[in-house]
């Protein structure tokens, strides 16, 4: 500090605060500023690498050319992608303490409902229906939920690291948004392996997967979010 500079007015607040200021200024090191775009690029890279590895390990469903002709395949891919971007985007933006995640979280939840509603339209366009329980195929469904959860782990961990470095004002809502986004990212990767194109099956089991991973992530990330 220059010799002619006025003494910090904070010293009037008390010796302890003055000593703290001296210690913090003495410990000061240059820091790399956090940017939302860099954090988003990190998460996008994690999901991209995961997808490539997953496909390289034989995760791709064998009838992919046929599946890509189904509207339901594009619906589930687009839905999971949009929810993932909305959820993780909301989570990343809210790592700035001056930004609340509540509005983004509401939009993400509305997006989930919109995707489910779009599924009904896709379902209505399908010829013929069979019994609901048979379509839900709970044995395969539980397997799908399990795989979605495992595939969400890299995104949850990546978001957790960024969350730890950030300063969320509302840790609970940020954890919900990030958890939902990470769950959708895992589901997005799983879309390339998912054998079902039935909108009812997808709406039911993907919703279960999103809810489950979001809830677990909320608990885990909520602890990381404290600062």
């Amino acid at each position: 500090m220059p010799a002619d500079a006025p003494p910090p007015s904070g010293r009037r607040a008390g010796d302890a605060t003055g000593a703290l200021i001296e210690r913090l200024a003495g410990d000061l090191k240059p820091v790399r500023r956090r940017t939302t775009w860099r954090d988003a690029a990190v998460l996008a890279a994690i999901v991209a690498v995961e997808l490539v590895l997953f496909l390289a390990m034989g995760g791709l469903r064998p009838d992919m050319p046929m599946a890509m002709k189904q509207p339901s395949w594009w619906w589930k891919l687009g839905s999971m992608g949009a929810i993932g971007i909305a959820g993780l985007g909301t989570g990343l933006l809210s790592l700035d303490p001056a930004r609340s995640p509540r509005r983004g979280l509401r939009i993400t939840i509305l997006l989930v409902l919109l995707c489910v509603a779009l599924g009904w339209l896709v379902d209505a366009a399908r010829p013929g229906t069979t019994a609901l329980l048979a379509r839900l195929d709970w044995r395969q469904g539980i397997g799908c939920v399990w795989k979605m959860a495992v595939l969400a782990i890299p995104a949850v961990l990546g978001f957790g690291v960024l969350l730890r470095r950030g300063a969320p004002f509302d840790g609970a809502a940020t954890s919900w948004a990030g958890g939902l986004g990470a769950a959708a990212a895992g589901a997005f990767v799983f879309v390339f392996a998912c054998p079902s194109d039935d909108p009812l099956y997808i709406a039911a089991w993907y919703a279960v997967g999103l809810a489950l991973v979001s809830a677990v992530s909320r608990v885990i990330l909520g602890r990381v979010a404290r600062w």
Binding site: M1, S9, R12, T17, A25, P30, R33, D96, A98, G166
Partner: protein, 205 residues
């Protein structure tokens, strides 16, 4: 229109609270100055950082005098200074500094309200010296009253008796004509509602 939450709390009334305390005193640096000092601090300039922390300290004290009981002021200020240090990389120099600082201060305020739920209350010493700025202390009490007025009367009374006046739960129960367990419940719920209220104000802002 007032923003009434699920507890019937008028969040908009609280929006008036920060305005008076966010006004700087004459002679203090502007927001742009603080932003420039923080930018320099991010680059490792200790002199700028020392000046910034010195400048924001009285600002923070004024912030908390309106929101917390006197014995908590300095601890809360120090909490913010440490948080500001640890999270300084999250400040974007392209944006105003004050909202960023105010958000951290508000976050730590909620932490303090939360801590009051479990923290044992010590009876205040009668000989405790009065704060330097007695006028401010009086207006702070009024502001804290405004905050407590947003709660249900039983909750506000329990918090006022135990957490602000330093009575034991049993003494407060006699005074408030509530059972001791009800006093504890009212303190717990009241402080939780205060935290939710502050968060709602942040969302609205």
């Amino acid at each position: 229109m007032a923003d009434r939450g699920e507890d019937g709390v008028d969040g908009e009334a609280l929006l008036d609270l920060p305005v008076s305390v966010l006004e700087k005193q004459p002679g203090l640096a502007s927001d742009a100055d603080w932003g420039a000092l923080m930018k320099a601090a991010q680059d490792g300039d200790a002199a700028s950082y020392r000046r910034l922390l010195g400048d924001v300290t009285p600002w923070l004290r004024r912030y908390y005098t309106h929101r917390l009981p006197l014995p908590m002021w300095d601890d809360a200020v120090q909490d913010v200074l440490i948080a500001l240090h640890e999270k300084r990389h999250t400040y974007d120099p392209a944006r105003p500094f004050e909202p960023w600082l105010a958000a951290i201060a508000r976050h730590k305020w909620i932490d303090r309200l939360r801590a009051m739920r479990t923290m044992p209350t010590e009876v205040l010493d009668e000989a405790l010296p009065a704060p330097d700025d007695h006028g401010a202390a009086v207006s702070d009490a009024l502001t804290l009253d405004t905050l407590l007025a947003q709660l249900r009367p039983q909750q506000a009374e329990a918090i006022r008796l135990v957490k602000l006046e330093g009575l034991s739960v049993e003494e407060a129960a006699l005074r408030a004509r509530q059972s001791p367990s009800l006093v504890k419940v009212n303190i717990h719920r009241g402080l939780r509602r205060l935290g939710a209220l502050v968060r709602r104000v942040h969302d609205a802002g």
